[in-house]
C-alpha cells in the first residue's frame, strides 16, 4: 500500500484549504499533484507527513495511519519541502551525515540508493549548502530525503525555481528511484511535468478536479482544439474573445488555443471573421489537447 487518502478536509479560519479529498496511490507509483499556487498541495503534504492534523477524514501512508502511527511514518517517509530547508552553514557531507544520524543510519548503509545523485554533487562535498546553486541544492535535499531508504517519498514542488536542464535531470532521477520500488508523491505547478507521472490528480481550490493517467486525462478533453496564429497576437486574442461562437481562448506559446462552442465548426468561417478584424497571415490548424488545456477546461 502506498498512500490512501479518505475524505480529508482542512480549514484555516475562513479559508477552506482542502475539501473532502480522496485518492489512492499504489505502491511504487509516481503520482503527481498538479495545481496552481494556493490549491492546497502543501497542506495535503503536511497532513500526510504528520506535520498537521486534518479537520476531517483519515489517511494512511505506507500502511500507517497519519495520526495514530505517526512515529512509524516518520521512520519510513522522506519529505522534501518546497523551500530549501537544510543547514546552510553545514557542508554537503555534514548535512547528509546529520540526517543519516538522526534516522539512525549511515551514509554507507544506503549509499547505493543515493549514489546516482550524490556523485553529481560529491565534488563539492566540502562546500557549504548555502553556497550551492539551485539545482545542486535540490539534489542535496533529495539525497537527504532518501538517506534512510524511505518507502514513500514526498516532494513538494521540487522543481520550482530550477532551470529547465536541472528539471529534466531531476525527473529522470525520480524515474530511477521509482524503479527501486519507492512510492513517490510529487506536486508541481508545471503542467508539462505532469505528463511524466504515472497518474495525476488535478487540484484547485482544495478540490480534486480529476484523477487519471496523463494520457487518459488528455483523451477526456471534450473538444477539438485549434492552433490559431496571426501577425498580431494581442489583436488576435481580443478578436477571438469577441467571436460569438468561441468556447475558450488561451494563449499558448506562439499560438492561441481555440475551441468552438459548435460541433460543426468550420475554420474557414473563423478565418474570414479574423480578416475583417485587420489580421493577416492567419493560420488555423488542428492540434491535440495537452494537460494544461484539460486543466483550464476543468477549472473553468
Amino acid at each position: 500500500m502506498g498512500i490512501s487518502v479518505n475524505h480529508i478536509s482542512k480549514s484555516y479560519k475562513n479559508v477552506k484549504a482542502l475539501q473532502d479529498i480522496s485518492f489512492e496511490v499504489k505502491k511504487g507509483e509516481l503520482f503527481g499533484l498538479i495545481g496552481p499556487d494556493g490549491a492546497g498541495k502543501t497542506t495535503l503534504f503536511r497532513i500526510l507527513t504528520t506535520l498537521l492534523f486534518a479537520d476531517e477524514g483519515n489517511a494512511t501512508v505506507a500502511g500507517y495511519d497519519v495520526v495514530v502511527e505517526y512515529k512509524s511514518i516518520r521512520n519510513s517517509v522522506g519529505y522534501m519541502p518546497g523551500k530549501f530547508s537544510l543547514y546552510q552553514d553545514l557542508t554537503i557531507e555534514e548535512n547528509l551525515e546529520f540526517f543519516a544520524t538522526i534516522f539512525g543510519t549511515t551514509i554507507e548503509e544506503n549509499y547505493d540508493l543515493i549514489k546516482d545523485i550524490y556523485v553529481q554533487i560529491e565534488p563539492f562535498k566540502d562546500r557549504r549548502a548555502g553556497k550551492l546553486s539551485g539545482g545542486m541544492k535540490q539534489k542535496l535535499a533529495l539525497c537527504c530525503a532518501l538517506i534512510h531508504k524511505p518507502k514513500v517519498l514526498f516532494l513538494d514542488e521540487p522543481t520550482t525555481g530550477v532551470d529547465p536542464v536541472s528539471r529534466k535531470e531531476f525527473w529522470e532521477m525520480l524515474k530511477r528511484l521509482q524503479e527501486k520500488g519507492i512510492t513517490i508523491l510529487v506536486s508541481t505547478p508545471y503542467m508539462d511535468e505532469a505528463a511524466l507521472c504515472d497518474r495525476i490528480a488535478l487540484i484547485q481550490d482544495g478540490k480534486i478536479l480529476e484523477i487519471d493517467t496523463p494520457e487518459a486525462i488528455v483523451e477526456h478533453f471534450p473538444k477539438q482544439i485549434y492552433n490559431v496564429s496571426a501577425n498580431n497576437m494581442y489583436q488576435l486574442i481580443l478578436s477571438l474573445n469577441d467571436y460569438e461562437h468561441n468556447h475558450s481562448v488561451y494563449p499558448f506559446g506562439e499560438f492561441v488555443h481555440y475551441t468552438d462552442s459548435r460541433t460543426d465548426f468550420n475554420p474557414e468561417e473563423l478565418k474570414t471573421f479574423l480578416e475583417t478584424k485587420d489580421l493577416s497571415n492567419i493560420h488555423i490548424d488542428k492540434t491535440v489537447a495537452t494537460i494544461e488545456d484539460t486543466f483550464m477546461e476543468l477549472a473553468k
Binding site: R74, N75, V77, Y79, P81, Y87, F99, I102, G104, R128
Partner: protein, 373 residues
C-alpha cells in the same frame, strides 16, 4: 544518546562557523566586563565646586581650603554674586555652590552658631545625594576644628559634646565598588549571552525551515531540545570561568568562598535561563521577535536585580516582583560566595528557589514546545 551527541556536535560546528556571532559570544562580554566594571561606579568624583565668599576672613578662607583639599571637589571659581553663581549652575559649569554670608566669622565667635547656604545641582538625584553627604562631612569636620580653635579659651566651662561614629565596612573594607560590581556584571554577561543565544537558536531553525524537516524525522523532541540547548549551557559555564579569571587578574576581586559551589549554583541557574530562552522561542516566529522579547525581560531583570539599586529601597510590590527574578538570586549568591565566603548551607534558600524555577520554566517550555510545534 548518540543522536543527542551528534546534534550537540552539529550545534557547536554551526556556532563556530558563524563569524559574526563568535566575537559577540566571547569578546564583547569580556570587553563589557572590563569596561563596565570600571565605569559603573557609585563614587562621585571631580565635583565642580564654586563658592561666594561674602565674608573674606581667615575663617571663610579656611573653609574653602577644606573643600580644596578634598579629592572629591575641584574648586573652580569664587563668584562675586549669587546671580552669577546661579547662571553658572544653569550652564552646568558648577555642581555645588557654597554661599558664605557676610560676618560669618564675627557671628560665629559672638553667637556661636551660623548657617551656610549650599546649592546642589540635582539633575542627577543620586549624585546630588552623595554630594550633599560630602559637603556635610567637610563642614562638620571644619566645625569640630572651629570648636577647638575658637572656643577653647573663652568657654572653658562648656565642653563640646559630639558623638563620632567610626564605621567598619565588613566584607569590603575599603568600600571598593569594583569588588561588588564585578561579580554582578559577570552575572549579567552569563545571563544575557545564554538567554539571547538560546532564545534565538530554535527560532532560527524555524526561520530557515529546518525545523519542519526535523519534525518529519523520528527524532524525539527531548533529544532535539537537549541537543540544541546543551551547547549554550557549556558556553555559559565557559563565560563564567573566563569572567572569574578576569575578575581575579584585572580587578583582584576577593574570592573567599568555594569555586565548586559557585559552579554548582551557576549550572542550575543557566538551566533557568535556557528554559526562558526556549519558552520565548516557542512563541516567536523570527529571530528579531525573539531578540526583542529577550531584551525586554533582560532589562527588567537587570534593573530589578539589586545589582545597581538595592532591592530594600524598592516599593513593596516591586520587592515581591523581584522574588521572580532569577538574576536577583544569582547576584546575591555570587556576592555572598565571593565576598563573604558563604557556604552551601548559606546559599541553600537561593539554590532551592533557583532549582524550583528551573524545573517550572523548563517544564513550561517543553510543554509549550509540544503545543506550538
Amino acid at each position: 544518546m548518540k543522536t543527542i551527541l551528534y546534534i550537540i556536535q552539529k550545534e557547536f560546528k554551526q556556532i563556530f562557523r558563524n563569524k559574526g556571532m563568535l566575537p559577540i559570544i566571547f569578546v564583547l562580554p569580556l570587553l563589557q566586563l572590563v569596561i563596565l566594571s570600571n565605569a559603573a561606579t557609585f563614587e562621585v568624583k571631580n565635583i565642580k565646586f564654586g563658592y561666594i565668599d561674602n565674608d573674606h576672613t581667615s575663617t571663610s578662607r579656611a573653609l574653602v581650603e577644606q573643600f580644596n583639599a578634598s579629592t572629591y571637589f575641584n574648586v573652580l571659581t569664587d563668584f562675586p554674586s549669587v546671580a552669577l553663581a546661579s547662571s553658572a549652575m544653569l550652564k552646568g559649569e558648577v555642581d555645588v555652590v557654597l554661599d558664605i554670608p557676610q560676618y560669618f566669622e564675627r557671628d560665629l565667635q559672638k553667637e556661636k552658631h551660623h548657617s551656610l547656604g549650599v546649592t546642589i545641582n540635582a539633575i542627577d538625584g543620586a549624585a546630588a545625594g552623595v554630594e550633599n553627604v560630602y559637603v556635610t562631612q567637610i563642614i562638620q569636620r571644619f566645625n569640630q576644628q572651629l570648636k577647638v580653635d575658637l572656643f577653647q579659651i573663652s568657654d572653658k566651662q562648656v565642653h563640646p559634646i559630639s558623638i563620632e561614629t567610626i564605621p567598619l565596612f565588613w566584607y569590603n573594607e575599603t568600600l571598593n565598588y569594583k569588588t561588588f560590581m564585578v561579580p554582578g556584571i559577570l552575572v549579567l554577561l552569563v545571563t544575557m549571552i545564554t538567554l539571547f543565544l538560546s532564545g534565538m537558536n530554535i527560532v532560527r531553525e524555524k526561520e530557515i525551515g529546518t525545523l519542519e524537516q526535523i519534525n518529519v524525522t523520528p527524532i524525539k523532541k527531548s533529544q532535539f531540545i537537549i541537543g540544541k540547548l546543551f551547547p549554550f549551557w557549556v558556553i555559559g559555564m565557559g563565560l563564567l570561568t573566563i569572567g572569574l579569571i578576569i575578575a581575579k587578574i584585572i580587578f583582584d576581586v576577593p574570592m573567599l568562598g568555594s569555586l565548586p559551589l559557585m559552579y554548582l549554583y551557576t549550572s542550575i541557574y543557566i538551566l533557568v535561563v535556557l528554559g526562558i530562552g526556549l519558552f520565548i522561542s516557542n512563541f516567536t516566529d523570527t529571530q528579531q521577535q525573539a531578540m526583542f522579547i529577550a531584551w525586554f525581560f533582560t532589562v527588567i531583570f537587570i534593573l530589578m536585580s539589586g545589582l545597581f539599586t538595592p532591592i530594600e529601597s524598592m516599593p513593596e510590590w516591586a520587592q515581591i516582583l523581584t522574588e521572580f527574578n532569577p538574576i536577583k538570586y544569582f547576584v546575591e549568591v555570587m556576592r555572598m560566595v565571593m565576598l563573604k565566603g558563604s557556604g552551601f548551607m548559606d546559599i541553600l534558600p537561593q539554590l532551592l528557589k533557583t532549582l524550583l524555577y528551573a524545573v517550572i520554566m523548563n517544564g513550561l517550555a517543553v510543554w509549550s514546545y509540544k503545543k506550538t510545534n
